[in-house]
């Protein structure tokens, strides 16, 4: 029989088979491979088999059956290979994206990666994607970010750009995060605004996707009665895919993706791939959100710690002050009576002494020194007194003018000009009149002591951010920060400030009752004492002013 194909030859001479090309020379000698790879598809082989059938050769009936089976199996293998190749690419892509997602804790960075992966040709290749996040406090699903072209012109521009630069998905996501995120949020602002859906709306297709924890491919959307008409209008497409984002049973949000430009069909393969991708996306978004909240909480905790430390320091300081107050108060009481007796008898003796008695000078000195010590004791006892304030509603203008009037004689004696500038419509303050009057008096007295050559004092009242402010400005050389510190700390006085206890007590009394006491040196010169008292809001509205 004249057989044309080389299928029956063990070895073929070069050029003996028209189907063996360059680089396949090994098939000349490899009989099995040549038959399976070349002969089985060769027309000559098919003709040879026909000849066999015609001659009634038994192989003529079997071979076509075997060839058909081999070809079918080979087709199946090729199809499976192609499927595996595509799966392999997808796994590699998901792996790459997952690595990026795992390392990022910045929510916007995560979203940039996600949205780039969905819309890039190297990713899932969808034309457009919208992300809606669940606002759990307000129980809403709200449009957060949209990515993709708005029209064909823009799409063409984007594809041109992508083609010109061969970027990896990671590079594209990075570029998107750094340069396009803000503008992209703005670009779809109108559509995103219309994407606000109550999570309680169980019939809404987006909420249904979350509830059923499965993607929903919406087709024929304009005529689909199950679809929210306003959502379809906003998207402007007939077909779109809803992919829920769920992390450990928590509803994170949904992604809506479509092919609004190319109108390419969304295949079941696309649906399945995006569903797989959504697991890691939901987890990454939740982690980034939690990290953001953690950062916020951390900031709060840090601030609270700083405040706590300040409070602890304040408590330590207050305890020290309270202890100092207790001790000094106790000492003051125990020495007050003997001191009074000494000074009192000195005065008695002085009254009985003759004018030319040389002892008069000693007695006068005893009397004066005793009186001075009594004044120091008075300061100390005032400090103890401040522990028990008697609060009432008072007119601060009246208080300031009353104190200045009381001290007018001494001010004139020391050639100190005292000017008042009182705000006319000052609201009442809830204060212990006696204590605040003591503080104003002490400030003026302290100022006078530092003005042997005379000077000027300006007492002013004003309203400032919910406080009534009493400002006493004193002319002369400004106090140094050390002197101010010493002056406002009990028993921290410098020698030239006299006993100095008065101002420290003022500060303690004021701060103890929630008022503010400050001493500062303004740029224009002199020293400024500031007392800030709370406005009595209740009384401003309804009541009257005690002693006003």
């Amino acid at each position: 029989m004249d057989l044309v194909c080389c299928w029956h030859k063990e070895v073929v001479e070069p050029g003996g088979c028209p189907n063996i090309g360059e680089g396949e020379e090994v098939l000349y000698t490899s009989y099995q491979r040549r038959v399976l790879e070349k002969c089985i598809d060769c027309p000559n082989f098919r003709n040879d088999i026909l000849k066999l059938q015609e001659t009634g050769h038994p192989l003529g009936a079997v071979v076509p059956f075997l060839v058909g089976e081999v070809q079918e199996q080979r087709g199946r293998l090729q199809s499976m290979g192609s499927f595996l190749d595509s799966r392999d690419r997808e796994i590699k892509f998901l792996h790459e994206i997952s690595l990026v997602l795992q390392t990022s804790v910045d929510l916007d960075e995560v979203l940039s990666v996600v949205m780039t992966a969905i819309t890039a040709g190297k990713g899932f290749g969808m034309n457009r994607a919208f992300l809606l996040l669940a606002d759990k406090e307000r129980k809403l699903l709200r449009g957060y970010l949209g990515v993709g072209p708005r029209d064909y012109g823009e799409a063409w521009g984007i594809w041109q750009e992508i083609q010109q630069g061969d970027f990896t998905l990671k590079e594209m996501a990075k570029d998107f995060y750094q340069t396009k995120l803000t503008s992209e949020k703005q670009k779809f602002h109108d559509i995103l605004e219309r994407m606000t859906i109550p999570l309680a709306d169980q019939n809404h297709v987006l909420v249904r996707s979350l509830r059923e924890k499965r993607p929903i491919l919406v087709e024929n959307a304009f005529h689909n009665p199950d679809c929210d008409h306003s959502l379809v209008q906003a998207l402007g497409v007939d077909t779109f895919l809803i992919t829920p984002l769920i992390s450990r049973n928590r509803r994170i949000g949904v992604i809506i993706s479509d092919n609004c430009i190319t109108h390419k069909q969304i295949t079941p393969q696309d649906v399945q791939s995006l569903e797989t991708f959504a697991f890691s996306v939901a987890f990454a978004i939740e982690r980034a959100s939690l990290y953001e909240r953690l950062q916020e909480e951390l900031l709060k905790v840090t601030a609270a710690n700083v405040k706590l430390k300040e409070q602890q320091e304040l408590i330590v300081k207050m305890e020290r002050m309270a202890l100092v107050g207790k001790i000094t108060s106790s000492i003051a009481h125990s020495i007050r009576n003997p001191l009074m007796i000494i000074g009192g008898f000195a005065r008695t003796l002085l009254r009985g002494a003759a004018q030319d008695d040389p002892k008069r000078e000693y007695l006068e000195s005893i009397g004066q020194e005793a009186r001075q010590l009594e004044e120091v004791l008075e300061d100390i006892l005032n400090y103890s007194d401040s522990l028990y304030p008697t609060l009432d509603t008072w007119d601060v203008n009246q208080l300031v003018s009353s104190v200045c009037r009381e001290l007018n004689g001494r001010l004139q004696e020391r050639r100190v000009a005292c000017r008042l500038r009182l705000e006319a419509s000052l609201p009442p303050a809830r204060i212990d009149y006696k204590q605040v009057a003591y503080c104003v008096r002490t400030i003026v007295n302290t100022a006078m002591e530092r003005m042997p050559e005379g000077g000027e004092i300006r007492a002013e009242t004003l309203r400032e951010n919910g406080w009534i402010v009493v400002e006493v400005w004193v002319s002369g050389v400004p106090l140094s920060p050390e002197s101010i510190e010493a002056m406002t700390t009990p028993f921290g006085s410098t020698e030239e400030l006299g006993s100095g206890l008065g101002v420290a007590i003022c500060k303690t009394i004021m701060e103890k009752h929630g008022n503010i006491f400050e001493v500062s040196t303004p740029a224009g010169g002199g020293t400024r004492y500031i007392i800030k008292l709370p406005v009595n809001r209740e009384e401003t509205q309804h009541g009257t002013i005690a002693g006003g």
């Binding site: 007050r336 003997p338 009074m340 007796i341 009192g344 008695t348 103890s384």
Partner: protein, 120 residues
């Protein structure tokens, strides 16, 4: 001239007050405790009591209440080192109030004022 009773647990102060008030022309008796003061008031008639708020182990305010209750016409001047007692309602029962000082001018003025008010 008026009859005064000085009640103070400090002997030095009793002596000083007696001396000074006597110099003002008054007849002065003294008591160191509340019980002693009650005895004195029972024994003799006084025009005015000068009372220390803080007596040893007892309160002058309790004595003040007793005096006001039993002898409501007998004026009392409270005398103390504690200026905060001015805020105590009980202290308001007194006819006068002075903070202790080696300069007795204020006390003497207060004695004069209260006695004048009582027509003495």
């Amino acid at each position: 001239m008026a009859r005064l009773l000085v009640v103070d647990d400090e002997s030095g102060i009793r002596l000083l007050y007696s001396q000074e008030l006597a110099d003002e022309g008054h007849e002065v008796a003294t008591a160191a405790t509340a019980a002693e003061a009650v005895e004195r008031i029972k024994e003799s008639e006084f025009d005015l009591i000068v009372l220390d708020i803080k007596l040893k182990n007892e309160s002058g305010l309790d004595l003040l209440q007793k005096i006001v209750k039993e002898r409501h016409n007998l004026p009392v001047i409270l005398c103390t080192a504690f200026s905060c007692f001015k805020d105590d309602f009980s202290a308001w029962l007194a006819d006068g109030y002075v903070v202790k000082s080696s300069d007795l001018t204020e006390l003497k003025e207060e004695v004069k004022r209260v006695l004048a008010k009582k027509g003495k």
